[in-house]
């Protein structure tokens, strides 16, 4: 008997969820431009200081509060330090803080959210009550209090710790909600039926299916942390001088609104633009990832 082999040709490349998300995101012009500008922003604060070789902490009392000029493109501050150099180094600090806080608090939040959703019972109740109680403590005063506690010598490290401790609440709730509905799905049931371990189910099924929540949250949060850092540093409770951050540059600048307005303009503008771009990108991602909008 002769066997007949039927070859079926696949005409189109198969699309996965993530390739579809990428396609949809790149179709959104605003989000794409924001993504490019943000990459540019990171590149500038990383590479910029290597090209613009001016010490951001060099005090020159002969050149105090100078308006923008050829030697100092953005002027100088109250100690005669070059504003552009401080803006670049401050950007490094602000973006580093926002990145590490977002990743750390995101990791903790996702872990707690999945744990609560998967373990259910008293673990869930205890974690969610803790979450609620921490949410009921007003944010800004408690951050101010926490910022006064001496935990670690480095003010940047301390800021990161504080913002992480109070930063996991939102994402834990979101992840828990999504993980609860994913764990009801039939593929999870099927995985359980063939004897997959809890760990495997969590890593192979629940985590990938809640990941889109994390991505959107993280993008919006990257901007939010920059605002929190700036607010705390603005009140002298965040990054301590002489290290520059966009927030504490604004704090110094507020004394000089009568004489040196350029000191107020630049750090605030950097914060504003960065947060704006993160929000554009975050919303673009949200729309790109929402299965409701898939055609």
């Amino acid at each position: 008997m002769e066997e007949q082999i039927v070859v079926e040709k696949v005409s189109e490349r198969s699309t996965t969820y993530w390739s579809e998300v990428r396609r949809r995101l790149l179709k959104n012009k605003l989000a794409t431009v924001s993504l490019i500008l943000l990459i540019l922003m990171y590149a500038i604060v990383i590479v910029g200081p290597l090209l613009y070789r001016v010490d951001p902490n060099y005090i020159n009392l002969q050149e105090v509060l100078q308006p923008p000029s050829k030697i100092h493109p953005l002027g100088t501050d109250e100690n005669g330090r070059d504003e552009l150099a401080r803006l670049l180094y401050g950007g490094r600090v602000s973006l580093l803080i926002s990145l590490s806080v977002t990743l750390l608090s995101g990791l903790i939040g996702v872990f707690i959210g999945i744990l609560a959703a998967y373990k259910k019972g008293w673990v869930d109740i205890a974690l969610m009550r803790l979450n609620e109680i921490m949410m009921a403590i007003p944010e800004f005063p408690i951050l101010v209090v926490a910022a006064k506690i001496k935990i670690v010598p480095s003010s940047i490290m301390k800021l990161i710790i504080i913002l992480v401790v109070f930063g996991w609440l939102g994402i834990a709730r979101l992840t828990r909600g999504e993980a609860l509905s994913v764990s009801e799905e039939q593929f999870v049931e099927a995985a359980k039926a063939i004897g997959a371990s809890n760990m495997r189910i969590i890593i192979r099924h629940i985590l990938p299916n809640t990941f889109h929540i994390f991505i959107v949250w993280a993008t919006l949060r990257l901007g939010g942390v920059i605002l929190s850092e700036a607010a705390l540093s603005f009140f002298g409770l965040g990054v301590q001088p002489p290290t520059a951050s966009w927030g504490n540059m604004l704090m110094n600048a507020q004394t000089y609104i009568w004489t040196a307005q350029w000191l107020v303009l630049w750090p605030g503008l950097m914060i504003f633009v960065t947060v704006l771009l993160f929000n554009f990108l975050g919303d673009g991602l949200r729309n790109a990832m929402d299965p409701k909008f898939f055609k």
């Binding site: 408690i142 605002l227 700036a230 609104i257 107020v264 929000n279 554009f280």
Partner: protein, 321 residues
């Protein structure tokens, strides 16, 4: 419904105690409020230890917690370590100032914001909608303290028409009421713009997305299909239903009446609650800081409760499940 409310209130009690516990121990980590006095060579150390004893600071932290808690429950909030005044008097003085700013800006931004959000959603992608979408992106990303400083530069430094901060021109205390009102207006304009802008853009966003969601509902399509006049559909089916999440958010933002302006108060040197609590924390003024924090936390718990009740009242599906 009654059971639901009863259960919600019962949950609040342990939550309240846990909040007091967490905040107390956080504050106790803040540092020794008597460190400066102890180190000073000019102050009689006997006096210092007497003072420490009178504040109960010679006892271990957990005993201090219970002492403090029992005082709080009896309505005794202690004495400010900085000014020596009763904490309750400080709060009574600061509260009306904060309330007057916030109720004014809050009402304004709520009413205008909901209206704009409604119109934006009905005319999706029109000029108005796009305009306010851009504005609300700006409002979301704008650091309020930067906006305040930029306004100060514009109105106080460049144009010289508004004072850069404060609450009252010295000497105006006994002026006639109209003059005092006009004087107050000059001080309130900039905080009003900053707070109102932030609030407004938030309400526009929430209302817009809530109304858009309602417009997609099946019952709206049904109402239209059976030939109901469009304004009746919009009013009865869309607008009223879209107010549910808005009402919840309204109650959730109630604590903002008392604390929403903390950063702004500090920048414009307005002697309200925000300045009080931040100043207290900065100066290690234990009693004031603790009392304000407890006050806020209780308010937050209470508004969470109100939000839940409002939600249950507005949405029969929750009430009867």
């Amino acid at each position: 419904m009654r059971n639901y409310i009863r259960k919600r209130i019962l949950i609040m009690i342990p939550e309240f105690f846990l909040i007091t516990l967490i905040s107390f121990f956080l504050y106790s980590l803040m540092g020794d409020p008597f460190a400066e006095l102890r180190a000073s060579p000019y102050i009689d150390q006997n006096y210092v230890s007497q003072l420490i004893k009178s504040f109960g600071f010679d006892k271990p932290v957990y005993i201090r917690y219970f002492m403090w808690l029992s005082q709080i429950l009896r309505g005794n909030f202690g004495i400010s370590a900085v000014t020596g005044e009763k904490v309750i008097d400080l709060i009574k003085r600061a509260m009306p100032i904060t309330l007057s700013i916030n109720i004014f800006t809050f009402t304004f931004s709520l009413v205008i914001g909901v209206l704009i959000g409604y119109v934006s959603a009905l005319k999706q992608y029109s000029f108005i909608d796009n305009f306010f979408t851009i504005i609300s992106y700006i409002g979301l990303a704008m650091p309020s303290f930067w906006l305040s400083l930029m306004l100060m530069i514009l109105f106080s430094v460049k144009l010289h028409i508004l004072p850069p901060g404060g609450w009252m021109t010295p000497g105006m205390e006994s002026a006639p009421i109209l003059a005092r009102f006009l004087d107050r207006l000059k001080y309130i304009i900039m905080p009003f713009i900053v707070l109102g802008f932030g609030g407004l853009t938030g309400w526009v966003r929430y209302t817009r997305s809530s109304v858009l969601e309602m417009l997609r509902k099946d019952y709206v399509r049904t109402a239209r299909a059976k030939g109901l006049p469009e304004n009746k559909v919009l009013w009865k089916h869309v607008f009223r239903n879209s107010l549910n999440p808005i009402a919840t958010l309204f109650f959730l933002s109630l604590p903002g009446f008392f604390s929403g302006s903390a950063i702004i108060e500090q920048i414009f040197s307005i002697p309200g609650m925000g300045s009080l609590i931040i100043g207290a924390v900065m100066n290690n003024d234990y009693m004031v800081a603790m009392a304000s924090l407890i006050f806020y936390s209780s308010l937050l718990l209470l508004s969470l409760l109100l939000a839940d009740i409002a939600y249950a009242l507005l949405d029969p599906r929750i009430r009867f499940s």
